[in-house]
């Protein structure tokens, strides 16, 4: 009955992937933006100190007796001191002539030209940051261009940058994890009403076709509305077919009952043996047909319900004892005693209506084949699994036929003269299978048939 549903992706996964993927992109973007901004700020800091250093050197330059004298203060370099002991280079040029400092330290930015500014270059295989500026010195007979460049390695800067990067990475990861959490919460919250609707529909018993009344989000209203209208139509058509079956059964059985009663009454008045035989045969045929009709209906009902078990917590013993009371009069008619033997309670979960029907069929069978004034034993036990064992003192199952007796319409070779439809054990077997159990037929060592219905 249940057809495989074709799956195309998952709403939850789709939503989660979008949210988490977006968060990952944002986190990486954030990392790079913050990192480059921090690098820029740090670079500006270094540059302004380098600039100040250059300026302080230039300011200290003067022309004395036609010579350039640069007596720059100690602070010009000490202001560049860092935690990482970065190395400092300087060069002072007079019109491209190195006056003092490191030879080869560039005094102009090769990419721009000009004679002032900040740039990054490589010196002695180490990346350095350079600041350079120049000043025109005018003396009595001198007019000369003085260019000063100060450079510093970037160990401290890159240390700071690394620290910032690490912190930004930690912050970004934290942000990402937080978003993942938020995403999973948001996904659950969004999927939640759908899941709740699914559970509330799935948990229903097979007969429960009431509309869904619990409030749902507005996006789900069309779905729930069509679900409700589908269930209403299903309810209507199920109700109609149930009514039809009940009505049909009533229409067929009531006249059968009348015919049977008449036949019985006639039998009381008829004396000739052949007429009596005919009347008896007629009554048996009526019984046979009405029983078959009843069992067919039961079998149809069980096939339907087996697909949608209405599981409840039950006490197997209660169920069996109730059945023993119901079947008491039938047992009485044959002077058969029903012995129920059981521990205190045998808790199981199952469909009460199905189980009752199955066990009733087994006990019915035992009663039919039990000899007069004998005992039918019904034992309810909990181990190895919950089970009901029904044993009679009759002829037992014919050896060799046991395997096929629970097939539909199969009857044993010793069933002559006993009314039956051949569906009783089929019903019991189907119910056992639907409950994940088994029906075992056998003969008891002391004689008699023994049927075990186990869970």
């Amino acid at each position: 009955m249940t057809e495989e549903v074709r799956v195309s992706g998952s709403l939850r996964n789709r939503l989660a992937t979008t949210l988490i993927g977006g968060a990952a992109v944002l986190a990486i973007l954030l990392f790079f933006v913050v990192r480059s901004y921090a690098a820029q700020i740090a670079q500006q800091g270094q540059d302004s100190i380098l600039g100040a250093s250059v300026t302080s050197i230039l300011d200290a330059a003067s022309v004395q007796d036609g010579r350039i004298e640069v007596d720059f203060p100690y602070a010009s370099f000490s202001m560049l001191g860092t935690d990482s002991d970065d190395r400092i280079f300087y060069a002072i040029y007079q019109d491209d002539q190195l006056l003092s400092g490191y030879d080869g330290l560039p005094a102009v930015d090769p990419s721009i030209g000009g004679d002032s500014g900040y740039w990054t270059a490589e010196f002695q295989d180490t990346p350095i940051r350079l600041a350079a500026a120049s000043r025109m010195l005018v003396g009595a007979d001198l007019r000369t261009q003085l260019t000063v460049s100060v450079a510093q390695t970037q160990d401290s800067l890159s240390g700071t940058l690394n620290r910032i990067s690490r912190n930004v990475a930690i912050f970004g990861t934290g942000f990402f994890l937080l978003v993942v959490l938020l995403a999973s919460w948001a996904t659950s919250a969004a999927i939640g009403p759908l899941a709740r609707l699914t559970t509330s529909v799935a948990r229903r018993g097979p007969q429960d076709l009431r509309p869904v009344v619990s409030p749902v989000p507005s996006e789900m209203v069309p779905l729930v509305t069509s679900l409700n209208s589908l269930m209403a139509r299903l309810d209507q058509s199920l109700g109609r077919s149930e009514d039809f079956i009940a009505e049909a059964a009533h229409r067929v059985r009531t006249p059968l009952a009348t015919v049977r009663s008449h036949a019985e009454a006639t039998l009381q008045r008829v004396d000739r043996e052949e007429n009596r035989q005919a009347m008896r045969a007629m009554i048996r045929a009526i019984d046979e047909s009405s029983r078959a009709a009843g069992q067919l209906l039961d079998h149809a009902m069980i096939t339907f319900r087996a697909d949608h078990l209405d599981r409840q917590d039950l006490d197997l013993l209660d169920l069996v004892q109730d059945l023993a009371v119901r079947l008491g009069p039938i047992a009485d008619m044959r002077d058969v005693d029903l012995h129920v033997d059981a521990p205190d309670a045998v808790p199981i979960t199952g469909d009460a209506i199905l189980l009752q029907n199955a066990i009733r069929n087994i006990v019915d069978n035992a009663l039919k084949y039990a000899p007069r004034e004998s005992v039918v034993h019904i034992d309810v036990t909990t181990s190895p699994s919950p089970r009901v064992t029904v044993r009679d003192e009759g002829p037992g199952f014919p050896i060799g036929e046991i395997g096929g007796l629970s097939d539909r319409f199969a009857r044993g070779s010793n069933s002559d003269g006993i009314i039956g439809s051949g569906l009783g054990l089929t019903i019991a077997q189907d119910v056992a299978t639907a409950h994940g159990g088994a029906l075992t037929l056998g003969n008891h060592p002391k004689g008699g048939a023994c049927v075990i219905f186990s869970f």
Binding site: A246, A257, T258, R260, I283, I286, D287, S290, L297, P329
Partner: protein, 221 residues
Amino acid sequence: MKFLLIEDNYDLAQAICARMQLDGHVIDHAGTIADAIAFSDSGEYDLILLDVMLPDGDGRDFLRRHRAGNGVTPIIVLTARSQVSDRISLLDLGADDYVTKPFDHAELEARCRAVLRRKAGTAQTVTRVGDVAFDPVAGVLTVGETSVSLRNKELRLLEVLFNAPGQIFPKQKLVDRLFSYDDDVSENAIEVYIGRLRKHLEGSQLQISTHRGLGYRLDHD
């Protein structure tokens, strides 16, 4: 015992009434719920037999009304609806038992007896003939000081004989009354039960006499 039968099918009702009267019961027949209410309001019944589908309504409504009005008379439902869920809902509504149409009269009789036995305690059901007391509901036969519990077939046989002392019952009539039609019994089976009843009645003022070719009769000294 006084029974009320609520059944709209006239033929079936007549047949049930005939069988019940044969067993010595008094039985009133109502064809509609309205009649049934009139009957049950005006008389005391030991047992009500109720059909489910009636021309003026659902038999279950009568059942509900009866139980709501604190009616204690046991009710056995005669139903042609055979689905298990129907049967269970009947019991939930307060029916004491049900039989599915078409039913064996022996089964109906056995169910009536079982229900009456469960509800026993108020009704005086003991019949006395001479020094013998017989309670067909409890299934107890008392001769002088000693009581014996009768098995179903002995009980039914004694009941038939007790209801018409002095009348001769042919074996085949007794078979028809005692056994259902899915029982394959010979008339000789009756002899076994007659033998047992004779043993139970030993020393009392009652005895069962054999009339060769005619049948059995319960005689009172």
